[in-house]
Symmetry: C2
């Protein structure tokens, strides 16, 4: 399937970046022909038909999903792994593709933990109804998990001699670099003081973020109306109380990294 012939219908909630943004960044960097369906007239109803099982093809559990020809593909990392080879944004080599996928899935875990800082009890409840638990979870996130994930991304860059530490996988930009950019952007929005403290320890990742932001198509996209602003409905939310430095507590914890 040639890029120039492939038309992608992309479905995601129309008012947030959310998980859909990882797909939008891929499509924008590739210059792909795509429609962000739910943002057009009648699009939400069209999206709901898929979620309610009224359309043929694989049943999505949740947005984002894409339709390419007759094929419906859901789950962010799976969408990216499906589209990237057709758009030239991942190498052909099987081992490098598996490596790209493992990085993307680790970013997906990271994103889920970022989301749960403001929704540690349930996505179906308001933030205000789980604020106390959110504060506790966010403290652990800022202290332990955020540095752990960011340093892992830094280490992956440092190990990639093929690109002299410029890109996460292989010699050139891939879809996982776009996703890493988005995570840094989102964290800067949601946790500005935590990020201000940690960024000097992750220079390669910060340079990667800049390199992606300067790509001509990404730069144009970020300035366009297609790029939704961060807001208090998405994954990355700015609640200053969650970004605050936690007082050091006496702790019994610290064991167990098994999951």
């Amino acid at each position: 399937m040639k890029t120039s012939r492939m038309r992608v219908e992309m479905y995601y909630w129309p008012t947030i970046q959310g998980r859909g943004e990882f797909v939008r960044l891929l499509l924008e960097e590739a210059g792909a022909e795509y429609v962000d369906v739910a943002r057009a007239k009648g699009g939400m109803a069209a999206m709901m038909r898929f979620l309610e099982g009224d359309e043929p093809g694989a049943l999505p559990f949740a947005p984002p999903f894409v339709k390419v020809g007759d094929t419906v593909v859901s789950q962010t990392a799976n969408i990216l792994a499906y589209l990237a080879p057709k758009l030239g944004l991942v190498p052909d080599d099987e081992a490098l593709r598996a490596e790209a996928s493992q990085i993307q899935l680790t970013i997906a875990d990271f994103v889920a933990e970022i989301h749960d800082t403001h929704h540690p009890i349930a996505g179906s409840l308001y933030y205000e109804d789980q604020k106390k638990e959110a504060k506790r979870r966010a403290q652990e996130f800022v202290k332990e998990r955020n540095p752990k994930y960011l340093r892992w991304l830094e280490d992956v860059l440092a190990r990639n001699a093929t690109s002299e530490g410029r890109w996460l996988v292989g010699r050139n930009l891939t879809y996982v670099d776009l996703s890493a950019f988005q995570v840094v952007e989102g964290l800067r929005y949601a946790f500005p003081s935590a990020m201000a403290r940690i960024e000097r320890k992750i220079p390669r990742l910060v340079a990667l973020r800049d390199r992606v932001a300067e790509r001509p198509r990404i730069a144009a996209y970020l300035k366009s109306e297609r790029r939704l602003p961060f807001n208090q409905e998405g994954i990355f939310r700015r609640y200053p109380e969650l970004d605050a430095t936690a007082p050091r507590r006496g702790s019994r914890g610290g064991r167990k990294a098994k999951r």
Copy 2:
């Protein structure tokens, strides 16, 4: 690469089923030649060398990971998608492979939510230090998320006319059926009363579970010492207070399914 020639080194925490069990089930059903490295002498040290970056190849964020030849592959869903084609446990068709992957990734999200019922604040803290939050999260899980995921799996089966609702993807058993089996087993262990209430609503999924349990290699595996018992260190834990029926509360919640 032929099955008979391929030797898989599998790395996971040696005392729990955890996420590693999805990989073990695949290897067992396939009759693959594999070593569960961390359960052998010196194996934990060998595993830690990968996690600390002292081995070549892609850097795993966490176990499970596998080594096949010189290739290191991590992230459960990615490991399965990498091994299954070599072991005949997923169809060749690109759209069916994408569908298998999206189901596996949805199961991975389900598993993460199951884990977080007992660790809603942090994996690094003891259950006892987040018991109150766990009870609240588990109530939402039992009421909303568990039925939603299980009914989605039931719907996916109902829609798969190719196998007359016997398997999740395509005509025959694939790796995602093994994973669905494991989730039902784990939920029966961790949430026996919630499962007792819901199982009559998911007859196809229960029949799938039985069908997998009766596969000769799986049946032999489940009886062997290679199958670790469920315990209070893994993803699926039996805390009766988390399985209790929640009193209906007046609630402001219920909005927002976006993630």
